[in-house]
Symmetry: C2
Subunit: 698 residues, 2 copies
Amino acid sequence: MTGVGVGGLFDPERVAVVGATDREGSVGRAVLENLDSFDGEVVAVNPSRDSVLGYRCHDSLADVPDIDLAVVVVPPSVAVEVVRAAGESGIENVVVITAGFGEAGSEGAARERDLAAVADEYGLTLVGPNSLGIMSTPASMNATFGPADALPGSMSFMSQSGAFITAALDWAGDQGIGFRHVVSLGNEAVLDETDFVEAWGDDETSVVLGYLEGISDGRAFIDTARDVTDETPVVLVKSGRTEAGAQAASSHTGTIAGSDAAYEAGLDQAGVVRAENVQQLFDYARALDGLPLPDSDSVAVVTNAGGPGVMATDAVGDSTLSMASFTDETLDALADALPENANRYNPVDVIGDAGVERFRTALDTVLGDPNVGAAVVVAAPTAVLDYADLAEVVGEAQDAHGLPVAAVLMGGSRAAEPAARLRESGVPNYFDPARAVDSLDALARQRRIAERDYEPPREFDVDREAAREILEEAADRGETRLGVEAMGLLDAYGIPTPEGGIAETPEDAVSLAHEVEGDVVMKIVSPDILHKSDIGGVKVGVPNEGVYDAYEDLVSRARNYQPDATVLGVQVQELVDTDRGTETILGVNRDPQFGPLVLFGLGGIFVEVMEDTTVRVAPVSEREADGMLSDIHAAPLLRGARGREPADLDALRESIERLSQLATDFPAILELDINPLVATADGVQAVDVRLTIDPDDL
Amino acid sequence: MTGVGVGGLFDPERVAVVGATDREGSVGRAVLENLDSFDGEVVAVNPSRDSVLGYRCHDSLADVPDIDLAVVVVPPSVAVEVVRAAGESGIENVVVITAGFGEAGSEGAARERDLAAVADEYGLTLVGPNSLGIMSTPASMNATFGPADALPGSMSFMSQSGAFITAALDWAGDQGIGFRHVVSLGNEAVLDETDFVEAWGDDETSVVLGYLEGISDGRAFIDTARDVTDETPVVLVKSGRTEAGAQAASSHTGTIAGSDAAYEAGLDQAGVVRAENVQQLFDYARALDGLPLPDSDSVAVVTNAGGPGVMATDAVGDSTLSMASFTDETLDALADALPENANRYNPVDVIGDAGVERFRTALDTVLGDPNVGAAVVVAAPTAVLDYADLAEVVGEAQDAHGLPVAAVLMGGSRAAEPAARLRESGVPNYFDPARAVDSLDALARQRRIAERDYEPPREFDVDREAAREILEEAADRGETRLGVEAMGLLDAYGIPTPEGGIAETPEDAVSLAHEVEGDVVMKIVSPDILHKSDIGGVKVGVPNEGVYDAYEDLVSRARNYQPDATVLGVQVQELVDTDRGTETILGVNRDPQFGPLVLFGLGGIFVEVMEDTTVRVAPVSEREADGMLSDIHAAPLLRGARGREPADLDALRESIERLSQLATDFPAILELDINPLVATADGVQAVDVRLTIDPDDL
């Protein structure tokens, strides 16, 4: 992300094509031809031609004043110089279509670094390189070399795959789907997905949709998108979801894919409506573009066909929606309006002999019910039902009630015209009830996104300096892996740890033990001994009178095991009754795109066998931390299921937030695991900790 | 299921329409009009007309000889008599379109029972009542009152929703999808889904597809379908999957929906390829109809577009398929054939400047690789790629290699003609790579179904009489809920239980305790005391010398708690070390459609909080029992994860099979729970049991 916005990329008055040519099959020719219908002026630049396709050719950008956008299609070897010339001429917006940069070996990567440096020097808003180009239908501008044009529309579309734009536009044109702006992001030497989300959040774009294989700066994306998505929906396919897909994406783009768990969390925190595939991408975007948001998650189904009505109901059951319960008034009104053998409960079955008027009455009645937030109309063809009339009725009901309606006028060609009529009202029509419901589900997801109030993470009063000292001391000792000797980090950030401390002499140990109530746990503290239990380096339940001897025994075991091991002392810790509480795991790791991720789950088998964990991108807000506590399957155990003591959820939530603050404050912490963090009704205690640091990041 | 087959329903020579009329908008007229194109002879029956739509009208079926099929569209009040008349006239096949039977209150239900009785008396193969009718394209017969006709094809289609047939045929006609036989099952007074699966498994039907809301006899369906599905794929939408959907289906059809877990298990055991929605139903059926089965689950992706290739790869990751690893020969051949910047690893990217010949070479090469079982071709439109040629190449490659290929020629109208060409080769074409891969996944599922060798459940040598005695004694005592007093049932069926038994005197208890090694567990045995622990009715770890007193104490606690409680004695049981083994739960419950279901899971939180269980319809084969042990998420724990002792899987498997045999032998057992069944490395022990019986079923 540049922070400079996308400038005047989409509303130029004069566009220069550098590398303009009339060579059959060339990219330069294709761009020039596509710009034929441009509202403004097209300027051709090519020093080796006098004219191209009727355009007079200029030798260089320096020769033509007042160019708003330069489209670069020259060979890679001269591309950087052309862009510099553009900068010199005062051109602010550049689209580099030329390929042969970061995607093409180390030479290309060097060239891309040069390009970015030039762009930075002149403050260019630059798309590409290796881009298909950009389009802006308000300016009638198609500055791509693709074979398809975009219909006008209000959605804006970005893609890290140029081929996908080509394919999608070709298909969308047939479906009557239009776009406002389209950008093929290419290698993102300068402008990336975050810049366009920001720009489209501020203009007349109704819905942002996109195909991404990666997000270069996850944190910037979240912060930007969060501000956009409460007003403007953002629907994305992030591919490389699966291990196989991630590998393919990485070999395709040359970038290292972050974990999908990070993307899942990050996109959710950003308020993105994530689509799993192409069909969902366009289904969701169209629904969000054409329909109002529902005012609740409750759906009414109105049908003339029992079976398809059941299918729609199943789809509701699969979604985040629920079947609406009608008020008594609605039920009475339906009873009056429908024949006796109709079903007035949801799904409402107006039965097979229903004409359009019965549909109208039923639909009006249920949409007027305060318990109904959206509706699906499911119709099978009958002799007495005219689909064209039904399309009219559905459109009118949708307008009158201001609630979203999706249609399933099942059938082949008989449904085509009515579907087009529905589309004009913004109502999608599908053959499969499940797709219609899934589209409404996207609206409900967007409603929840728009409604959620983002509160910034709480800032706790912590002892940052103490934490820094601990990390720096470890770094000074040349250590990258820390154990209980780092418990002080947690103390510094207010995450409760058991009473006790690290003793450097047997006498220290005895006095520490006296400060603690009851017997103690003693552990050897040595960065060189990872598996302390294996060498008998842990003693549980040591009474005060045994502490002195235990200290000496632990140290001598360590010396015997590894004579040259650094022994920092012995940890003397209050004995935490892990049987009483619930063992949880709280951890941090670092994602290449999103930075620190906070992970939470119950300990042991829950994490290792059931894989029941949840992550968020740090910094984590209070609401997000709360979400983590209810996200895991085992959440009922925290609330006291199966006779367990309920855990102190406030303390758990706060520990998540404090750890998130620690991870955000210290990029040097690569990984950190509190395992277990024991949660009881009275609070939490971090019994053990391990971390890995990168001293260079301190 | 009747067991009499479907007779000559689909190949009659003379069809009578009883209730023929020319009244505008009537069902009788619609049927007569639809039969216009019938290959055979149509006979109209209506005592109040002389002729209808050019057909001479007969007064009754008795007046016309040699009718092969009677289609009944008379009012419900006379329908049963008309069917009797058909039987009297020697007509064997009847379709009752008339509604007003089981779906219409108690009067209708009585009428439906009469209809079934008449059909039984005359041995009729009867479809309906409340059916849309049937179709047979080989006979050019449309004996329905629906507005759409079926194109000829080789798939046969059944539906419990007539409206869905209407909708689906209308749509399918447009898509070029044809059918062999179509039946609207109606209320299934006689013939049901199982009859048609059986019949279509024996004729030229290529694929059976269907929409069902319920299966009347689950066990019969499984046994029948299992024999069919290894040759003829059966693809079904079973709706009412979700709670909301099940409720809707039940109010629509008036039947009690079984649990979806039972359907999930039953359909899987039957070898059905289950589709979640309408789109999958037709995607799967078309793929199974048009394409050969793959010879492995490994897929190759060939594309000219990186992004869509990644999407296809993600879809493979989501499926039961995997990305093929090419042999060195394949990689070398691809290196020779493709440009340097192409990607020869899977997904193969022939890159954007590829013409059709490069696709041909790549596709031929990967399909020739022994590691490749199927392929997906993903193309984005470019100036140098002709989709018509590509369709040709894909069709040829598919024919040449005998492996399934799915196509994703992305785009709008430019893809329409090529898609039609592909369809002729049986190759489906989709805009969304995910749908193409999902279709191949259905083929892979069918391959596994066809390959699995069904072995009937093992019959263990059990003491059925002893089990019967225990159940009968309980029934004689008027008990329906049994506890540890029923441990003998498990003994009789060879499911290991701890040493011990039930003592009726303190002396008995002492002598039982002496037979057992170590301390014992003692529990009060009383059908009237459900929560034994609450009243101190369980003593764990009683040494031999304490057994006498413990007996008296337990009995007196029971008497104090509930003076009139029946006390059958005290159970004296070997102390099972539950800490050592893994606690599992093994249970039985009875589904209205499928009969006894066997449930397995790990105990405690795994069942109650994580809901990690698996079910099968009994009787359970050895392979099916084995599947249960690996189905649960916690399965690694049984194999010894997290330092646990590995469980004796053979003993667990055998316990499942033995319990399945018990449940199958005794329909009186409504519910049974062995909780816990403790599994160690040396075997299993059923520590506690509870069951509910229905004495009337003994």
